[in-house]
């Protein structure tokens, strides 16, 4: 069987001492930053990107992937213990997780989150292995118009998922696309928006923007409400779920995994949407729906399995199409390009060891994570208590050194500061930076595909509606926007985000 041969290849790649070590380093760091509120996977991966240049490609990508799905585990720990979501995807876990902790069942809640995540991670790894090859094959049929429409869909999806006003989010996407075009136009060689500065000839660095908008801006935002942060941590006593608990978590985990995996594949989504959807569906179908919000174990099991499944299946569009579905995946694309690998459908054929190595490493990483998060939970609890005034200067130091060593130019430091200010201003105006960042990386690609598509169609813009794949993707995007702007659903979306 081909699948087994592929997994075998992946196993032999991932199971070397070096790669196991980097996998462990990745999930360890992931848990750490997941536990620390105010430091997310986007900023962390951006900080570490310059370092990965010195590593072999497989090890680098295994480690970066580990940070992302590891942060989903860690994020739930703070949600449960101190009612502060460590990551955006664990926002819903606070609803029932913290209530369980207040009832003295913090240990059970943590165990449920870990078990749910592990199960979901295992299933998602298998799904990735099953569906990536046919999808990559299908992707070979994609023409320029189809790629363009896929990116439009991804950006529209990120708009729907953004907090705050839809209109502002669309504006952020357009602004991001524009900023992405700064630098040399690949087709004509013309300098665009570079103000004659040679440092801008290659465009604004993606890492610079990411660290400014997610690293610096986040620090400033946290300083604004410094006193709101509590450090009252609940005691953990018993980790073991009872027989009744086990029975109640089985179906929510299965449903959460399914929902999370399916939604994770959607461009623009990742892990956040899955967690929200899984929670609201569970609340509807559960026999214990009255207990939701008061410490129902289902309310932890469903979103935790969904966000971990989603984090992993969101690798599918990146690995098969070369198109990032969220800022973290955009950084992964950046990491591949640094290593000289052009992401796209050909990666699987040309670099099978890399492709399957990453997939298998995810399962190994999940195994590490359950060990890291259950027996060693005490260590993370102590880290949760580190006061923010010691944390943020360290984050700032790593951001600054990271961005400086990227190209060894202080110019990037100034630009990071500029984007920090811009990012803070935008969050004050309810404009979320995530869609902008995604648009920023897609900008040049979109222009290129638009150009090619129109060249092939002899300038006829109807080509985007005439090709079935392209038309379907665009229709999905329009549908998502319409659905999100229907007043009733719009309010639902607001409510979902106001969950914290």
């Amino acid at each position: 069987m081909e699948l087994l041969a592929n997994l075998g290849l992946g196993l032999s790649t991932a199971f070397t001492l070096v790669n196991l070590l980097y996998c462990f380093a990745g999930v360890f760091l992931g848990t750490l930053i997941g536990v620390l509120p105010g430091l997310g996977p986007t900023a962390t991966i951006a900080m570490l990107l310059p370092i990965t240049f010195t590593l072999p490609p497989v090890s680098a990508l295994i480690m970066l992937a580990g940070i992302y799905y590891g942060s989903q585990y860690g994020g739930s720990t703070t949600s449960i213990l101190i009612n502060v979501p460590g990551e955006a995807a664990s926002v819903v876990t606070t609803l029932d997780g913290y209530q369980m902790a207040r009832q003295g069942r913090a240990g059970v809640a943590l165990a449920t989150a870990a078990i749910a995540s592990f199960f979901a991670g295992t299933v998602a790894t298998l799904l990735l292995a099953l569906f990536a090859p046919p999808l990559a094959e299908f992707a070979l049929k994609f023409g320029p118009a189809d790629y363009f429409s896929l990116m439009v869909l991804g950006l529209l999806a990120s708009v729907v998922l953004a907090q705050g006003s839809l209109l502002h989010a669309i504006g952020m996407v357009v602004l991001g696309l524009l900023l992405g075009l700064v630098g040399t136009d690949v087709n004509s060689g013309a300098q665009r928006f570079s103000f004659g500065m040679p440092q801008l000839a290659d465009g604004i660095g993606f890492v610079v923007v990411a660290m400014g908008m997610f690293g610096l801006a986040e620090i400033i935002r946290n300083l604004e409400r410094e006193e709101d942060r509590t450090s009252a941590v609940t005691k953990i006593t018993n980790l073991m779920p009872t027989k009744e608990d086990w029975k109640r978590m089985v179906w929510p985990i299965l449903r959460g995994t399914t929902i999370g995996s399916a939604l994770g594949i959607l461009p623009g989504s990742g892990s956040i949407l899955g967690a929200f959807a899984a929670y609201s569906i569970e609340k509807k179908v559960s026999k214990h729906s009255a207990e939701f919000g008061k410490g129902a174990i289902e309310g932890v099991a469903a979103p935790e399995s969904a966000n971990n499944a989603g984090a992993q299946t969101s690798f599918i569009p990146m690995l098969t199409l070369g198109i990032p579905s969220n800022p973290v995946m955009a950084l992964m694309v950046g990491a591949m390009i640094i290593q000289g690998i052009q992401p796209g459908p050909s990666v699987m054929v040309e670099q099978p060891a890399l492709f399957w190595g990453i997939i298998v490493s995810m399962w190994i990483g999940n195994l590490f994570l359950i060990v890291l998060n259950l027996p060693m939970i005490g260590m993370w609890v102590r880290i949760v208590m580190v006061p923010y005034q010691y944390l943020f200067p360290a984050i700032l130091v790593f951001c600054t050194i990271g961005v400086f060593s990227l190209k060894n130019t202080e110019f990037d430091i100034y630009f990071m500061a500029l984007f920090g200010v811009l990012g803070y201003a935008f969050t004050k105006l309810d404009c979320e930076p995530a869609p902008m960042l995604l648009a920023f990386i897609l900008g040049p690609m979109m222009e290129e595909y638009l150009r090619r598509a129109l060249l092939l169609s002899r300038g006829d813009p109807m080509v985007f509606l005439k090709r079935p794949i392209s038309a379907t993707l665009l229709a999905l995007g329009v549908l998502a926007i319409i659905a999100a702007s229907i007043p009733a659903l719009y309010r639902k979306r607001e409510e979902a985000f106001r969950g914290d």
Partner: protein, 153 residues
């Protein structure tokens, strides 16, 4: 600031989008439009700018119709100190080197916290500098100057 508009967030977002869009159109004028069949370097940016200005105008108009929440308080101290310390690091890293630029970055930025204590901040700056030299310079071999050109390096 909020008196003339019912929705300051919509108002200022609209202004920002319009300013960015207009600036981009003016800058892109010299790049060459081309046609849909043979897009010039100005084609895609101009389309995007027009779209951005339109969104800005809608947001601006909406700010006078639909009421919204005020912007809320700004973390001026944090904004200023975090940005200033970062820029300061950029200015002196080559001249002074890591052993001076890094402690300054830590001390200036940590002053932004309400819980700032000199003793903690100094200890942290020493610890972080040692950690960075050990990990980034010794461990990973990143090309950062420990002491800069001002010291004859």
């Amino acid at each position: 600031m909020t008196s003339f508009s019912r929705n300051p967030k919509d108002f200022w977002t609209g202004i920002i989008y319009i300013v960015f869009g207009t600036a981009a159109i003016i800058l892109a004028r010299d790049y060459g439009m081309g046609t849909a069949l043979k897009m010039g370097p100005a084609y895609f940016p101009t389309v995007l700018s027009v779209l951005l200005i339109l969104i800005g105008i809608i947001s601006l108009v909406r700010s006078f119709i639909r009421p919204g929440t005020p912007i809320g308080r700004y973390a001026f101290k944090g904004l200023l100190l975090v940005t200033a310390s970062t820029i300061l690091f950029g200015i002196i890293i080559r001249g002074a080197g890591l052993v001076i630029a890094l402690p300054l970055l830590v001390i200036v930025s940590s002053y932004a916290s309400k819980q700032f204590r000199w003793k903690h901040s100094l200890a942290m700056s020493v610890g972080l500098t040692a950690f960075c030299i050990l990990i980034f310079l010794e461990g990973l071999g990143l090309p950062l100057p420990i002491l800069g050109s001002w010291f004859g390096r």
